[in-house]
Amino acid sequence: MINKFVRTMAEAMEGIQDGSTVLIGGFGSVGQPNALIDGLIEQGAKDLTVVANNPGVGRVGLARLLDLGRVRKIICSFPRSSDPIVFETLYREGRIELEIVPQGTMAERMRAAGAGIPAFYTPTGVGTKLAEGKEIREFNGRPYVMETAIQGDVALIEAWEADRWGNLTYRASGRNFNPIMAMAGKLTIVQTQHVVELGQLDPEKIVTPGIFVDRVLHVPYGDPMIS
């Protein structure tokens, strides 16, 4: 019997190596795998490259992972937040590397990794400093920039429902980066609000099929904070 559920956070985090690229889902406070981020803090892997839409808020969660000096590089579209104190301090002191990527390019680069596509061309960023040093090429008279896939060694995902095959649904804007990061992770680890029996999810409604999921931890985390 296939059973992707793990019972403990330690099991969920097992084997994450120093130097890993870690994809972290969520947009704003919605769909963030907060428990798994805390689990990663506890687990201890360091020298990480983190891919997330922003570098964390205050001194908790992702910001705390940064604060502990565990992140070598962050790839994000929006290196700000309501309270970006940790990132800004580290960045000013030259203690963290930053790669700014337009949000849609960041999403597509992960989708590409998940889909076995090493590189693609996009109009986004052409003629700006984010395309500097990158290959520009014309198609039908319009210039495009070549962007390469971002594969994760690990992806941390928050889902709404999950079954033992790892099939997932999301809730409202909690979907965001989660399904594409699940595709792009070599080891995809999920925290789910709800557990359902196999067969209970409508096959027309499953957003992330279990083929993209390795481990699922049941974390009834509750609603995102209302800011």
């Binding site: 704003g28 919605v30 309501s82 337009p102 849609g104 052409v126 409202a172 804007s173 399904p179």
Partner: protein, 226 residues
Amino acid sequence: MAAPVAANWKPLTRDQMAARVAQDIPEGWYVNLGIGLPTLIANHVPLDREVIFHSENGVLGMGPAPAKDKVDPWLINAGKQHVTLRPGGSYCHHADSFAMIRGGHIDLCVLGAFQVAENGDIANWATSENDTAPAVGGAMDLAAGAKRLWVLMEHTTKTGESKLVRKCTYPLTAPGVVKRVYTNLAVLDVTPAGFAVIEMVPGITFDELQALTDAPLHRASAARAA
């Protein structure tokens, strides 16, 4: 902005600016509104004129802001504000959401800007070349991908500098993409000849507007104001 002494015209308020843009959005368009000022536009589109608002984080068909006691904590827009979903709305993931943008399926994007140049260049994400960690978010995707890009911004900075320029001095978001600019003083089309004024606030003269504008202005043949 500080109005000149004894001017017999008044700049539009932020809400008036948003309402002015709203007036030009026809039913049936798929529209993405940038963070900040452009977000206000939605308040001025009556619900019975069906305009479908898109947010980068996978929300299509956003409705008005929820009542305080009706907030769905799982539903935010790209500006991280709580929103609602209209009947007919749907959710998707980030790659599909940006496929809508990059694939030219969004009829209109309205962004704020630091500067717009007379050739349609827009600078709205970094305030200097030395801003080492500027936040781009989805601005470049929207600027490069939407079918039409309009800008909604004050005509000048707080210190009176023109935001309509010959050439952007701030880092570009995308070159040559702006089709129209709505300011608190005028509505201008970006044409091959540069900015064409198609409307001005009541009472202002073309020369007064030009005096407040770095880029040279042209009178649009279709200009509706004096």
